[in-house]
């Protein structure tokens, strides 16, 4: 009988290491709630993206276009709003529409044209990034101060961004666990053949998952626009949101082969990454060395989950 690593134990161990390291380094003031909350606040954009990515991975697909979409969303939002509070709603709607279209195309490429999801979404990323860079080369437009509340405001002491993340995560979790669509997501990813035999329209499910994934990325772009005050074509790439969203989903227990995993596990993965970030900052570790560790941790987490499978992997 093999012991499966799960998001719970991983999170617990990480938290233990985090707390332990802080205490050992004699900087216990970092354990105050304000700091912890601020740690999580920095991870909002990643968290939003990762929730969407979880859905794509659950249907045995993947979405590598999220970083480009985040940049495009941020730019689109700032350009449409252009500092005018009356344009906030149109700006948000425009961004959501963009997200929906991108997700639709991704989903159709994967489900109908049967293009390898890695290639389909990478190609999409190139198209979006290219299109964006052709139009804009620097920060463009501006976000009105009212909209910046999304980053700077707070609800009952909790940063607004975090509230947004938790709300989106809760909605996604409820969707996955309570709705028929959510059940279809697990079926389509876990055993598409059995799902089809049972009458589930797996093609539609895959498309739907991709649309939701892209919408989450679009939301992340909106949040970043609020945070930065404007949008630029490189913010998605800078944050490495594509690869990191996959990484935190996998660390959180969502299996790349599909059919297994969940949103809360992904958030646990985000928390783990946020703790690593914060720990390295507190300990004064080189920001670059942190990156090395990140790479190693991602591989180690997947290896831990994969330990014990007999299947040959490519």
């Amino acid at each position: 009988m093999r012991v499966r690593a799960g998001p719970g134990p991983v999170l617990a161990v990480s938290a233990a290491i985090y707390v332990g390291a802080i205490l050992l380094s004699g900087q216990a003031q970092y354990l105050l709630p304000e700091n912890l909350v601020s740690v999580l606040g920095r991870a909002v954009a990643l968290g939003l993206t990762a929730v969407g990515q979880t859905l794509a991975i659950l249907v045995a697909s993947i979405d590598l276009s999220v970083a480009a979409l985040i940049s495009a969303s941020a730019v689109l939002a700032s350009v449409v709003m252009d500092g005018d509070p009356a344009m906030v709603v149109p700006g948000v709607l425009a961004v959501l529409a963009l997200g929906a279209v991108v997700g639709l195309v991704n989903g159709l490429l994967v489900a109908k044209a049967r293009v390898n999801p890695l290639i389909a979404t990478l190609g999409m990323a190139l198209v979006i990034q290219g299109g964006l860079s052709a139009v804009v080369s620097n920060f463009a437009g501006a976000v009105p101060p009212a909209f910046q509340l999304l980053d700077q405001g707070s609800l009952l002491g909790v940063p607004a961004g975090l509230v947004l993340l938790l709300a989106v995560a809760a909605a996604a979790s409820l969707m996955l666990n309570l709705t028929r669509f959510g059940s279809d997501v697990f079926a389509a990813g876990g055993n598409p053949e059995a799902a089809r035999l049972a009458g589930i329209r797996t093609g539609r499910t895959v498309v739907g998952a991709h649309v939701l994934c892209s919408l989450c990325a679009a939301l992340a772009g909106l949040y970043l626009a609020a945070r930065l005050g404007s949008g630029a074509p490189w913010i998605g790439r800078d944050g490495v949101y594509d690869l990191e969203s996959i990484a935190v989903a996998v660390i959180g227990g969502t299996v790349l082969a599909g059919g297994r995993g969940g949103v809360w596990g992904t958030l646990a993965g985000v928390a783990v990454f946020a703790m690593i970030d914060s720990l390295f900052n507190i300990l004064g570790v080189d920001a670059f060395a942190k990156q090395v560790f990140r790479g190693v941790i991602i591989v180690a987490a997947v290896a831990a989950y994969a330990a014990g499978t007999r299947r040959l992997v490519a």
Binding site: V115, N116, L126, I128, L256, R294, I298, T309, V313, A314
Partner: protein, 322 residues
């Protein structure tokens, strides 16, 4: 449900790979827009600049044939360029051993990739992704975010040097020789050795290969090493005419995969074509040149590449009949 038979390998070889036809068309288009392209200066320059991608694509073919992806090639290229710059620090005499050290490091990266996939059973997507991130971090840490040092002339000669007054062709870039030598070596390894046949077997049906006695893990590791080594060589060439920067290799692996798929290599394993990959790389480079000539800015290039990638794979899926 029966399996549709893939296009016979032999028939494809006997027939000409369509990528060359596409390349020819693009070259003609370039020629029309810029007659100077036919001059040695124009044409040889084109080949010189395309050489790194050709090598990258040829190396990527090995991993693709085994059924996986190598996303760490770009990071290896960056590592090579930045690492060389810092190790050499304009010491001519060090050129030789620095290149050897970089090759050894590249082989190490490839071996790690291969072992993580074969022994730890981590899908290559994640394994090479992890390597890419970690290696990027190593480069950052080592260079402190701002690459120092200087590439020696000897090092840059590989990418930059051109023999003049050569009979027939006029100019002959050293990079072209490197490409021909490296390409020939990779072609030989994949198409003319026992190893190449075993690699195809592993990518085609890893379980059947295992049951037939093939050392699957060893075969995979070698494929990743080949891919990483070709990235090192590509990095040496790139260092010759590109500047030293932290994103010299960014996106390289994606271009390599696009080129390989354009040239007929199948994703998810079973058939690889080194010659086709080189043709695909030349085709991509020709396309970018054409776009430049048409005055279209760099971002359009990205869009074009994205569309080509998607179309090439979609088309390949159609052809395969799955």
């Amino acid at each position: 449900m029966t399996l549709a038979a893939p296009r016979p390998f032999a028939a494809r070889l006997r027939g000409v790979n369509p990528v060359w036809a596409v390349l020819l068309l693009l070259l003609l288009a370039i020629l029309l827009l810029n007659p100077a392209f036919a001059e040695p200066q124009g044409f040889m320059n084109f080949l010189r600049r395309a050489a790194p991608l050709c090598l990258l694509a040829a190396g990527q073919v090995f991993v693709l044939t085994s059924g996986g992806f190598d996303l760490s090639q770009g990071a290896v290229v960056t590592f090579t360029v930045v690492g060389a710059s810092m190790l050499l620090d304009n010491d001519e005499g060090a050129t030789g051993w620095v290149i050897l050290v970089l090759l050894a490091a590249g082989a190490g990266v490839g071996a790690v990739n291969g072992l993580v996939v074969s022994v730890l059973r981590v899908p290559s997507l994640i394994a090479t992704l992890g390597t890419m991130i970690a290696l990027g971090g190593v480069v950052m840490t080592w260079s402190g975010g701002a690459p120092r040092g200087y590439l020696t002339d000897g090092f840059r000669a590989f990418g930059r040097f051109m023999w003049r007054d050569v009979p027939v062709v006029g100019l002959l870039p050293a990079a072209l020789l490197v490409l021909v030598a490296g390409g020939a070596l990779l072609w030989w390894l994949l198409h003319a050795t026992t190893y190449g046949r075993l690699l195809h077997a592993v990518g085609d049906n890893p379980e059947a290969a295992r049951l037939a006695g093939v050392p699957v893990a060893r075969v995979r590791v070698i494929a990743f090493v080949a891919s990483a080594l070709s990235a090192v060589v590509a990095g040496v060439l790139l260092g010759g005419f590109s500047g030293v920067s932290l994103d010299v290799g960014t996106g390289a692996e994606l271009q390599a995969i696009t080129a390989a798929v354009l040239g007929g290599t199948l994703l998810l394993g079973g058939r690889g074509l080194v010659g086709g990959a080189v043709g695909g790389a030349l085709t991509l480079s020709a396309l970018f040149t054409l776009l430049n000539l048409l005055g279209l800015p760099q971002p359009v290039r990205e869009v074009a590449q994205g569309l080509i990638l998607i179309l090439a794979v979609a088309f390949a899926v159609r052809r395969r009949g799955t």
